[in-house]
């Protein structure tokens, strides 16, 4: 029986000829691929190896045990997740509102507003924190304005150096990442559907709920998971806020690694963060490919 199965069913040269020699394109791709493996993948592998260097420089898991058990790591981990989730929800609400107005309530100058929001994507994030200190800081413009109106001398707004300040800054900075995929999804929505729904007597809220939002759902999920990833990884906003009560994992990696020069400790935190971010990124990619495939299927 096996002998029969093993026998080739047809002479080798009658196989259909391959359309191209596959070896040459692979050789062409090899140099950039090797460079990226050395400069991006190899360093991350070194980070996880460094984290297993125990006290005394030998292989061991005691650095892991001491870091994972430490109060500063645990509170930073939960704070990072709480800030990221809250900021993402804020971005989704704000981004949906702005995208719906930009797409469905046309007004002169909407293109300019769209371009301003796009420009934010290319700017450094610490800019927002810097602006917030002048606007909402205890000695900032808004507090001075409130003080001038009410006559009180103590600052009314005092949220800047709390997680709420970081969340406000992250919502400002990352909302454009939700708006862009939403606008792309809305542009595929046939306008007649809205007009028909409205002419049949549906209220704007009903049109929104049963025509627009079902179409926007995949884009909303993709944008939301991208923002969740970016807020988990955000560094500049938290560093510039600089308060003790807002330290997140990326800032903890920096203070552990550079300020106190504990490289194995920093490597443990970095490994945890990389695993967290990569699993989220893989989920995002799966979701995103499903969204694009679904769109191709309907076309």
């Amino acid at each position: 029986m096996t002998a029969v199965l093993d026998r080739p069913t047809a002479p080798a040269d009658s196989r259909p000829p391959r359309p191209r020699r596959p070896i040459r394109p692979i050789l062409w791709l090899l140099p950039p691929l090797l460079i990226v493996l050395v400069v991006a993948v190899y360093p991350l592998i070194r980070v996880s190896l460094e984290s297993t260097r125990g006290s005394g420089g030998f292989l061991g898991l005691d650095t892991w045990a001491s870091v994972l058990g430490s109060q500063s790591f645990q509170s930073a981990l939960w704070r990072t997740i709480a800030i990221a989730v809250t900021s993402t929800i804020g971005c989704l609400i704000l981004g949906t509102f702005l995208a719906i107005v930009l797409a469905f309530v046309p007004f002169p100058g909407s293109a300019v507003v769209g371009r301003v929001i796009d420009t934010i994507l290319a700017l450094p994030s610490f800019l927002i924190t810097l602006a917030f200190t002048f606007l909402y800081g205890t000695a900032g413009a808004v507090n001075a304005l409130i003080g001038a109106v009410t006559g009180s001398t103590s600052p009314v707004l005092n949220f800047l150096y709390t997680p709420a300040g970081v969340i406000a800054a992250e919502i400002t900075f990352f909302t454009p990442f939700v708006i862009r995929p939403l606008l792309a999804a809305f542009s595929l929505l046939p306008r007649q559907q809205l007009d028909v729904a409205a002419s049949l007597g549906a209220s704007p809220l009903r049109v929104l709920r049963s025509v627009i939002l079902p179409e926007a759902w995949p884009a909303l999920m993709a944008g939301g998971s991208l923002v969740l990833l970016l807020t988990l990884n955000e560094f500049g906003i938290v560093l510039f806020t600089g308060a003790k009560g807002v330290i997140t994992l990326p800032v903890l990696i920096y203070t552990r690694g550079i300020v106190t020069f504990d490289l194995p400790g920093a490597a443990v935190i970095a490994t945890v963060q990389v695993v967290l971010s990569l699993s989220l990124y893989i989920a995002y990619r799966v979701l995103f490919s499903r969204v694009t495939r679904g769109r191709q299927g309907t076309e």
Binding site: W28, A40, P43, V116, A122, L130
Partner: protein, 265 residues
Amino acid sequence: MLLWSRRSRLTVLAVFAVVVLVVFIAPLATVVLAGLAGSWTGPLPSGLGLGRFGEALSGENLASLSVSLQTAFLAGGLALLLGTWAAIGAREVPEWLRRVTDAVFHLPIAVPSVAIGLGLLIAFNSRPLLLGGTRWIVILAHFVLVLAFAFSSVSAALDRLNPAYRQAAESLGAGSARVLFGVTLPLLLPALGAAAGLAIALSMGELGATIMVYPATWKTLPVTIFGLTDRGQAFQAAASTTVLLLVTLIALIALGRIRGRAALR
């Protein structure tokens, strides 16, 4: 088309205007105003003047600006070259290898830049790959981070490219080098201009990886700005940030012009 009555439209647009003003315009305007301000103790800044910009364009701040520009153009240019090469190369290989390439090139987007910086610090701090303490580790860090965006935007542009042009050239007997330089790359030019602008903007504002690896002799502008705020010189930091924004915008516009000219052809 969603709101049919004039009143509800005006209400929604008013809310929209307030939100855009408070959330997006106010922070940008505040930084520029604070850079111009002599002091800001009341609701509005006072003593407006260009003095802080003189400071931002001299001494250590000017040196940082120059370092940032050199880093951005060098790292961005190299990343664009390699990213384009990989994106074009990945078209022709078997599916599994294309997926691997895609995943590996996108890796720096997915992980925090601080972790990339830490990795470079550990991996390139001993022979034969000794870069620690030199400017090259900063340039390498920016190259790694920007490469992901360059690869991703060139790949997306290749997806949108009409294959008929290439196939026509091939059917007329053009060799693969001629197709690449005569058809594919010219068609990609607008996307390359946009990718270059994005690369330079991202590199100019990069902080997380830089702060992990920079030597004292190669301080980029964001690192200097962080030093200023850390020492309590917030107004000077605002002036330097404004300079950073202006230079970034000029670079974006200049590279946008490349796109405009290519579109005319």
